[in-house]
């Protein structure tokens, strides 16, 4: 079930009423039922995958905890008898047993994801190689459809299991509660990828009805619909016109496409997250924020700490650190320091871990070379900026411009355009075409085309541009206001008349300006495809 459907609004309305009618202790059970109904709308057969992930995670978490308990009681019992070395050896043996169970579950669940999401991509690439070597053989593609949100819930669930393995928090004894954590409907299709310790308290506790939750939740949902329907879906028409007609729209249009897509993606993804967070808020449940004004970032590394925060931190905690500080990697780093040089030795583990993480981040977004190249280019930019930081420090030390408004604006603009440039890889058919189109920015650049009727050929009318300029300005103002504290709290402190006039204006804007008129269709959220 997509957020931008009447069905979802009716679903949320019914759930909201029922949620506050049923006794408090059963509310989380109602949420579980609702979440499965929500997911079943995408296809009942897909429930099997989420059920398999839930069951396997629960069974393996039981195994892990059993080993941990056995270890604690054995060490307690033999406290006086064992030497320090014996204790260490025993702990290592038990950790190794746990690691095997964990690996089994990771392979099973990431295996499902890999087969469903990357099976055909791998087969297509193998077929390409077979054709290259004129073998005359071709493998047939797999006929499985990709369940919606599988990348999100698999990552969230495996994060939970790794945390149980690391003994970060106790495991969830109730399988139904675990099932709710995995399938909680607002975040099921496009995140955020929540952590169990962040969500469990708010998800399972008994919430009473509060007017503030209703008011704040509705505001957030309205704001999300505004971003999605008024901005993202409208601007997507312009993006599609440019990227689907590369022969016609070259040069300056590629830059326009980049700019349009940057805004579209922001409005689409943050809009979806606003609806997710707002829907949970209606039920008294707090989901952690997934964005922190990312387009105000002064570097790519900072951007990635502020955009899709839950995914970035997942990769950092469960992939970057485990690879970069693993024993083999530290040993390799030591070897490089001794045999190749201090400079390489100090960096090698960070470089290898970064390349693996960014390759995976790329392929997480989609099974295509575009995404892999996009991920690796992000990695390259981050590593190069890291190496250039001593030069930046020298420059800042000499010219003292670091804290001036104009220099910060330059940094923000540079990051925005660099990110938009890389992200264009999402849009064109393949990597080759994308780079060809990058080339036309230099070879076919003519800014005057835009003002000689060019902007009117992108499927957008003057009124569309006016709506977009006003809406994007509004988002910019809200973001700027948000730097000094919650905008909603500030609005709540205003007179009632002003507050309700604002809500009504946004509601009206969605109804009148929402992109569902002739020629438009409320499209799927971009991130729900990932």
């Amino acid at each position: 079930m997509l957020f931008t459907t009447y069905r979802f609004i009716i679903f949320l309305l019914i759930l909201f009423v029922m949620y506050y009618i049923v006794p408090k202790r059963f509310r989380w059970l109602l949420l579980l039922l609702a979440s499965y109904i929500f997911y079943a709308y995408a296809g009942v057969k897909y429930l099997i995958y989420i059920l398999a992930t839930t069951a396997s995670t629960y069974v393996i978490s039981l195994r892990l905890v059993r080993i941990q308990k056995a270890q604690t009681s054995y060490l307690k019992e033999k406290r006086e008898e064992l030497t320090r070395e014996e204790r260490k050896a025993y702990k290592a043996a038990m950790k190794s047993r746990q690691r095997k169970w964990l690996a089994l579950c990771l392979v099973f669940n990431f295996g499902i994801l890999a087969v469903l999401k990357y099976g055909n991509f791998t087969i297509t690439n193998i077929n390409g190689l077979l054709q290259l070597f004129h073998t005359g053989k071709q493998l047939s593609l797999i006929g499985f459809a990709l369940p919606l949100g599988i990348s999100f819930y698999t990552f969230q669930t495996m994060g939970y299991l790794i945390d149980v393995y690391r003994e970060k928090y106790p495991y969830e004894k109730n399988i139904l509660k675990l099932a709710l954590f995995i399938s909680f409907f607002p975040q099921l299709l496009q995140g955020p990828i929540s952590r169990f310790d962040d969500l469990k308290e708010t998800l399972f506790s008994e919430h009473s009805f509060e007017f503030r939750n209703l008011s704040f939740g509705l505001q957030r949902i309205l704001w999300g619909f505004f971003k999605k329907l008024v901005i993202a879906d409208r601007l997507l028409v312009g993006v599609n016109t440019i990227v689907h007609n590369p022969e016609e729209f070259k040069g300056v249009y590629v830059l326009v496409g980049m700019f349009f897509y940057a805004i579209t993606l922001y409005a689409d993804f943050t809009g979806g997250i606003d609806i997710a967070i707002g829907s949970a808020e209606l039920l008294g449940i707090r989901i952690k924020e997934n964005f922190e004004r990312p387009y105000f970032s002064k570097s790519i590394a900072e951007y990635w700490r502020r955009w899709h925060i839950s995914l970035g931190s997942w990769f950092k905690e469960y992939m970057f650190y485990p690879i970069s500080v693993s024993k083999p990697m530290l040993d390799f780093s030591k070897f490089c320091k001794a045999h190749v040089g201090e400079w390489i030795g100090k960096r090698i583990s960070i470089y290898i871990a970064s390349v693996i993480v960014w390759f995976t981040t790329g392929i997480w977004h989609g099974a295509a070379w575009n995404y892999i190249v996009w991920g690796l280019l992000n990695c390259l930019v981050i590593l190069v900026s890291q190496e250039l930081s001593p030069f930046y420090d020298k420059f800042h030390g000499r010219f003292h411009v670091q804290h001036t408004f104009w220099y910060r604006l330059f940094q923000v603009g540079r990051t925005f355009w660099l990110m938009s440039f890389l992200r264009t890889l999402d849009c064109y058919r393949n990597v080759g075409l994308t780079f060809k189109m990058y080339g036309t920015i230099i070879t076919k650049f003519n800014i005057m085309e835009l003002f000689q009727g060019g902007l009117m050929q992108l499927g957008l009318t003057i009124s569309d541009y006016l709506v977009l300029i006003l809406s994007v300005t509004l988002i910019l103002l809200v973001s700027l206001t948000g730097r000094s504290g919650s905008v909603r709290e500030k609005l709540a402190a205003r007179p009632m008349l002003l507050r309700y006039a604002t809500y009504f204006a946004i509601f009206l804007a969605i109804l009148i300006l929402g992109a569902y008129g002739v020629g438009y269709d409320s499209s799927q959220f971009i991130y729900s495809k990932f």
Partner: protein, 75 residues
Amino acid sequence: METILEILNGLHPEVDFDTCNTLIDDKIIDSFDIVSIISDISDEFDITIPVEEIIPKNFNSAKAIYALVERLMEE
């Protein structure tokens, strides 16, 4: 403690590691720095810092890192 301070000063000479106790919270050191610190600690003290110990509490100050190293050496 001196070795820890040396490692930290080598990464960020501009920071006063004797007094700062918000290294992670204020984003003074990033994930690349943490990996460098762990690598240097493993060289100097011959210990392995398990990944589950990479939490803000253990890396927010030179003292916290020192306490972590001492604890791991005792284990």
